[in-house]
Structure formats: structure tokens, C-alpha cells
Amino acid sequence: MHKAQRDYHASLGDGELVLEARGLSKVFGSGAAAVRAVDGVDLDVRRGEIVLIMGPSGSGKTTLLTLIGGMLKPTAGSVHVNGCDISAMSASALTRVRRHYVGFIFQSFNLLESLNAEENVEVALNLGGKGGRGAAARAGQLLTELGMAHRLRFKPNDLSGGEKQRVSIARALANDPQLILADEPTANLDSKHGQEVVLLLRDIAKKQGRTVVIVSHDHRIREMADRVLWLEDGRFTDIGRLERDPVCGVTVEVETAHPLEYRAHIYYFCSKGCRREFQDDPQRLASEAPAE
């Protein structure tokens, strides 16, 4: 367990542990071509907690999410959700875990295009064993609570990005799971809708007492998260100073970022490409970037 987590747990006390990962590893391929996407990760998340996992592209964030969501079997280590070791479960048992104990929110929403908003939520309820008018009523209620009462019969193609993400959130909550896993939930949204989703995620954790694990580069989520973890090369590392890339908006660790000084201020970039883009029009991009 790295320093940030140790410090955190020392301050947290004994809340109910909803997610517990120990020595979690995932290796793709074998021999010389083997890629260690997740490498001995330990992670404890408690009820009502919001944990944000950040890190550069290819650091293993999404693989970690699929492991703790029971979509992928770890090469080594264990994952406990609500006290059950899901890493030892069969594929059919994992299906039940995903159906009842974990809710997923995706970057690209992943709504079924042929169904309307209400039906997208109702499908999840059907999978959870609820059918008939009760399921339809519950789907409508969930969407209404998320401010979608006027869009129940709209197909995904007729919804804005923010609305689609609300439907996706309602679907994730349909079977009342304790654990919500969100992969870049604001990445495809504009600033206003992104902010709305951030607030919804906060409410899900703080008002409903659910555990929320988010993979994101969004600085607004960083601000409301209880903990921010930095994943690099498949391992959690002590988080350093973070800055926002003024070109792409990605949060970068200062130590490993590409810096550039402009008008007595140092800007940090996720890649040389972003730095080059900044250099092409520094005045505009610097004015758009919030002062750190």
C-alpha cells in the first residue's frame, strides 16, 4: 500500500469496506510479449466514498476497473465486493455480481439505440428479476429523480450527451448496487453537462451512501473526490503535484509532464503534441487555462 493510501486509511477509521483489492495483477499475453497492465494493486474503498483514479493513458486504469467490476479475471490477487471474493467466482456468478452489486457508467454512455430512455433503464431492472409495470414505473421514477421526466420516451439519438449520461446513471442505479464504477463519465460532455454529472455522482455517494470509483482526468471530479489515486504502469504511486494540461484538459503529474514556460508561468502538458499545439497559439490557450 503506497503512502497516500496509508495516510488516508489512518485518517478514515472503520467504515464498511465495500471494495477490497489485494495484490491485483493482470497480465496480457505471455513470454516476451507479456504486458503487465495491472501490477500488484491494493485498494480499499468504503461505503459512501468517492475515489478518483487518475493516470496517463495506458497506465491500466480501465483494466483495473474491469477487474474490480468482475468483467475480467485477474492473473493474480483478489477482489472482494461487499465481502465476497469475486476473483474466485465462475463466469455465471460474476454475471450475477454485475447484475446486482455493481453499476457501470461509461464514457460513451453505451445505451441501447433501439430502446427509449425508460426502456434502457427497464432492461437493467428486467435483468435483475423485476418485470412488468413495476419495472417500468421504477425506471420512470429513477429517470425522474435525475431530471429526465420529460424525456422518458426519447431514443438515445434524440438525447443530448448530458441526458444520455443521466440515463446511463439511472441504469447503473436500477438494481440498487452498492458499488458504482464510472469510466471517464464526463469526457464526452460539454462543461455544463459535465458539471451536472459530477454533482450527480457526488449525490450518489454522499446522499445515497454508495461507493463510487471513477476513472477520469476531469479536474472537477478531483475537487469533489475523497481520494485521488495515481496509477502509472499498472501500479499506484504516491501522487505528486497535479496540473491541468491547458490544451486537452487532462490532469498531469508535474514530475512526468512536459513543461513549458510562458510569460513567467510554467504550463504542463501530457504530451509533446499538446505542448507543440500550445506553442502555436499560446495567447489563446493560456487565457483559457485557469491559473493554478
Binding site: T62, L65, T66, G69, M71, L72, S92, T95, R96, V97, R98, R99, H100, F104, F106, Q107, S108, N110, L111, L112, E113, S114, L115, E119, E122, V123, A124, N126, L127, G128, G131, G132, A135, R171, N175, D183, E184, A187, N188
Partner: protein, 366 residues
């Protein structure tokens, strides 16, 4: 439950209509061809059973009325009529003849039915027109543009149409009746008839009468009417059967190919949806049921449309081509229903494999 299968299929109307059209066409083709086959079988049997008599005496080796020739000595009829248990005997003679209608030539199978003198057989009016008259089949009348009062000629002999009705239509020809005297004069071979139709007074003596009749008419065979009807039906459709089977297989393959391609491409296009459903907890069984439901939905709609259209097509075809004779049996519709179910199961096979391999983690890829 949200009807995902129906919503998926109907979300792409063009693809749905193509698939439905393909399956419907396949079903129509199978039913129409099968009904044509059954039409000939049914009509041949119906005609034989509709003539008077419980037993048919034929020359040995004769299998039907049209495709084989039967010759029996005329005087054997009197001896058969004298057997115990026999109520009456008719002679039946027939020949496929070309007749002149105006400047054109038409072909029909002309027959004559006559009670054997000295037996108690009656002359049914529906098969025994007066001299110089001819009763023709409706399909033949339509095809040859004939009506009551029109004349047909064979050499110097003229026959006036006295009645147009459903006499007998076996696709390659239709039956017509003239009087026995006219037949004997124009087409007859002296002292020879084609068949004896024996009516039993005492049905319990059928087997004895059959054996005795065979002895009295040398080189003959004796059948019950039902037996000869079945034999004639088999003969009339025997050459046809392999063709029917080939067309049925082709129609099945066409329907299967269209349905398979539609379901497979729909599965590929919606691979992400299946991954999402897997990710949120759909079991493999739920996904297999979804694929199969889509296939069954198209197949069952295609079946319904196909059966309906087959009736419409047969009816329209009989109007345009009068000889086109069809008979749709519930057994054949049931067979096509089974074919349709098999089609939808087979069409789901590859998509099911595809769905089984879909990785739920694919939902995290943007």
C-alpha cells in the same frame, strides 16, 4: 419485459423488410410447389373415386388413366357382372385426343362410361351425355375459350359442348366425357374396353369378387377404388416428386441464407449492445434468447405472410392459368411451419457463436 428483440429488428426497417421478403418468398415457393404437387395427387384421386364402382379391373401393369394403357376384353364384363355380390359393372374407355376448335387444335382426355348390359348398373347423367354431345372440364373450357353450345371436331365428327363443369384436371390434361356409342364409333377398338368398374352389392364379398374378376378377365389386375386412386395419384406425381424436393430444398436454402445473413449482420452491428448487456449482467442464456427471438420473429412473420400470399398466389394463378391446380393441406402448412422453425434455429447458429465470444469489457472502449 422490454421486447428488445422486436425493437432491434424493427429499428432497421429496410433490413427487416429484406429479411421478411426473403423468408416470405421462400415460404411461398415451398407452399406453392407443394400445393401443385398435392393438387395433382388430390385431383387424380378425386376423379377416380368420383366414378361409380367399388373395384377397378385393369390390364396387368396399368397404373393410371393417362400414363399407361389398359386393354380388356369387353365380354368379360358380363361374366364379372354375374358374380355373387356384384351389383353392377361399368365399362370405362378413354384416350388422349386432339380436337379441332375453329382453326386451332386442342388436346383433352376423352372418356366414355357405360353400364354393362345385363347388370344392374345405372348410367350416371353427369358422365353420360347424349350422342353428339361432350361434357368438358372448366379448366379446359377456359384454356380453349369454349362454352356450352360450342363445337369441337374430330375428323368428320362434331361434338357440341353440353356442359362445362369441374370434371377432372390433372395439370397435363383435363378429362371430358362423350357417349359410349360415340366413343365406340370414333375412337373404339372392337370388343375392347379399358377398365371395368365393379359396384358391390355385398361389400363383405370384396375379396372373393376381386379374385374371381381377375380369373374372368385374363391378364388383369383388380384394385379397390381407393387403391387404384392412390396408385394413379402416385403415378401422376411420381416424375414430379424429385423436382418438388429440389425446389423445396432451394427455397429453404434461399430463406435460410437471407435470414442467416440478416441475423448475423444484425448481431455484428449490435455487438456493442450485446457487450453492454453482458456488462450489466445479462446471462448467456438471455443473449441467446435475444438472438433466437429475432430470428423466430422474422421467420414467424415470414411464415404468416408466406402462407397468406401462397393462397393469394394460387388463386390468382388459377385465374390466369386454368390448368394450374393446387391443393393446400394443413399437413403441408404444418411441414412448412417446422421448416420455418428449423430455418430460424439454423440461422441463429453463427450469431450465437459470435455473441458468445463478445467481450463485455469491450464496453469500456470508446
Amino acid at each position: 419485459m422490454v421486447p428488445i428483440a422486436r425493437k432491434n429488428i424493427l429499428s432497421d426497417r429496410a433490413k427487416f423488410l429484406v429479411a421478411l421478403g426473403g423468408v416470405t418468398l421462400s415460404i411461398v415457393l415451398i407452399i406453392v410447389v407443394q400445393s401443385l404437387y398435392e393438387g395433382v395427387r388430390h385431383e387424380t384421386g378425386r376423379f377416380v373415386r368420383g366414378l361409380p364402382g367399388d373395384l377397378w379391373v385393369t390390364e396387368r401393369g396399368t397404373t393410371d388413366l393417362v400414363f399407361s394403357n389398359s386393354r380388356l376384353p369387353e365380354d368379360a364384363g358380363t361374366d364379372i357382372g354375374a358374380l355373387e355380390g356384384v351389383g353392377g359393372v361399368h365399362t370405362l374407355s378413354g384416350r388422349l385426343i386432339s380436337l379441332q376448335v375453329g382453326d386451332s387444335e386442342v388436346r383433352t382426355y376423352i372418356m366414355a362410361l357405360q353400364p354393362v348390359p345385363g347388370t344392374a348398373a345405372a348410367s350416371p347423367a353427369e358422365f353420360t351425355p347424349a350422342g353428339g354431345e361432350i361434357i368438358i372440364d372448366r379448366a379446359f373450357a377456359q384454356e380453349s375459350d369454349l362454352d356450352v353450345g360450342d363445337a369441337l371436331a374430330f375428323g368428320d365428327h362434331r361434338f357440341t359442348v353440353s356442359e362445362v363443369r369441374h370434371v377432372g384436371n390433372v395439370l397435363i390434361t383435363q378429362f371430358a366425357f362423350i357417349s359410349a356409342d360415340d366413343f365406340r364409333e370414333v375412337f373404339g377398338i372392337p370388343n375392347t374396353v379399358n377398365f371395368f368398374l365393379v359396384s358391390l352389392e355385398d361389400p363383405s364379398r370384396a375379396s372373393q369378387v376381386m379374385a374371381e374378376s381377375q380369373r374372368l378377365a385374363p391378364d388383369s389386375a383388380v384394385f379397390t377404388t381407393g387403391g387404384f386412386a392412390d396408385l394413379a395419384s402416385d403415378t401422376a406425381t411420381g416424375d414430379f416428386l424429385p423436382i418438388i424436393r429440389v425446389i423445396t430444398v432451394i427455397a429453404f436454402i434461399v430463406g435460410l441464407a437471407v435470414l442467416s445473413l440478416t441475423i448475423y449482420s444484425a448481431t455484428i452491428e449490435r455487438a456493442r449492445d450485446y457487450a453492454v448487456l453482458k456488462a450489466i449482467g445479462a446471462s448467456p442464456l438471455v443473449l441467446y434468447r435475444l438472438v433466437l427471438s429475432q430470428s423466430l420473429l422474422i421467420a414467424s412473420l415470414g411464415f404468416g405472410a408466406g402462407v397468406g400470399l401462397a393462397f393469394v398466389f394460387n388463386s390468382a394463378a388459377e385465374e390466369v392459368v386454368p390448368q394450374f391446380i393446387t391443393y393446400i393441406r394443413w399437413q403441408d402448412v404444418s411441414f412448412v411451419l417446422v421448416v420455418t422453425a428449423v430455418m430460424s434455429f439454423v440461422a441463429s447458429y453463427l450469431p450465437l457463436h459470435r455473441v458468445a465470444r463478445i467481450d463485455p469489457a469491450a464496453v469500456f472502449r470508446a
